[in-house]
């Protein structure tokens, strides 16, 4: 069994207004050294396989087909072996 931890974020070239609004809030708290705040999604799922390679392939396919819209989003993930 594998666990995939997936991050989906707006593409770097796209302005993230939510991140900007949160960044302004952080700065208004007095943290003036906080820059480039970006907000994304975190997704965890389990894959019933014994193969590291298959876990990666499946996760990548799921990201491409559903979890991320590559017109506006980038994704990255890691897979780790877990017990049942």
């Amino acid at each position: 069994m594998y666990s995939a931890k997936i991050k989906v974020t707006l593409r770097k070239s796209i302005l993230d207004p939510q991140g900007k609004a949160v960044e302004h809030s952080i700065q208004s708290l007095g943290f003036n050294n906080i820059l480039d705040t970006r907000i994304g999604k975190y997704i965890e799922l389990k894959i019933d396989t014994k193969s590291d390679e298959e876990a990666r392939l499946v996760t990548d396919e799921v990201c491409r087909k559903l979890l991320a819209n590559q017109v506006m989003e980038d994704y990255e993930f890691e897979v780790v072996s877990v017990n049942g």
Binding site: L10, L15, P17, Q18, N69, V71
Partner: protein, 228 residues
Amino acid sequence: MSKAKFGVVVFPGSNCDHDAYNTLKHILNQDTEFLWHKDSSIGNRNVIIVPGGFSYGDYLRCGAIARFSPIMKDVVRHASNGGVVIGICNGFQILCESGLLPGALLRNASLKFVCKNVTLNIVNKNTIFTSAYNGNGMVKPGKMVVPVAHGDGNYICDEDTLKSLNDNGQVVFRYEHNPNGAIDNIAGIINKTGNVLGMMPHPERASEEIVGSGDGRYLFESVINSVN
């Protein structure tokens, strides 16, 4: 009687399905039926409306789940064969997610849900969706006054796509005053073959003067005229 047979798709969370049905069935006296998202066929319907709302609670991304519903497979097949499909608001988001239209819809630049009447410039009047806009009977001649009601209407696409949209006359509606940050003030686009329209504003909610504007009605009348 026109040969148009409208089908209005109903997803869990659709909330403009009845507005579309009312406009088509009761105002324009068209043969209109609802299509349930679990149906796998559009049957004998030849104009499909993918309505506004919050299909599947907008989970993951607006329209991302709806595109995998059984009915959408047949809607995509219909569109690929040249069939007429109109996606309004959430329907526009679903058509982008389905790959029937290019680009995507981001969160409004203001981060606020916008709900108000907007004025649209009809950029391309040579489409099956706009041919009946001759200025008569409209609130502002040559323009279209319709409501928007969305949180994610900020249209985006890459530069090459934008160029090809403009070059091919695929931009149909532009906002006079941009309410959401959409690139190039884009409010509505068609696909390359001109049979699929997606737009954020709601023509089905502006089809009777009593609600403030009847401008949206001509969009459906254009389609009715085009189906022979």
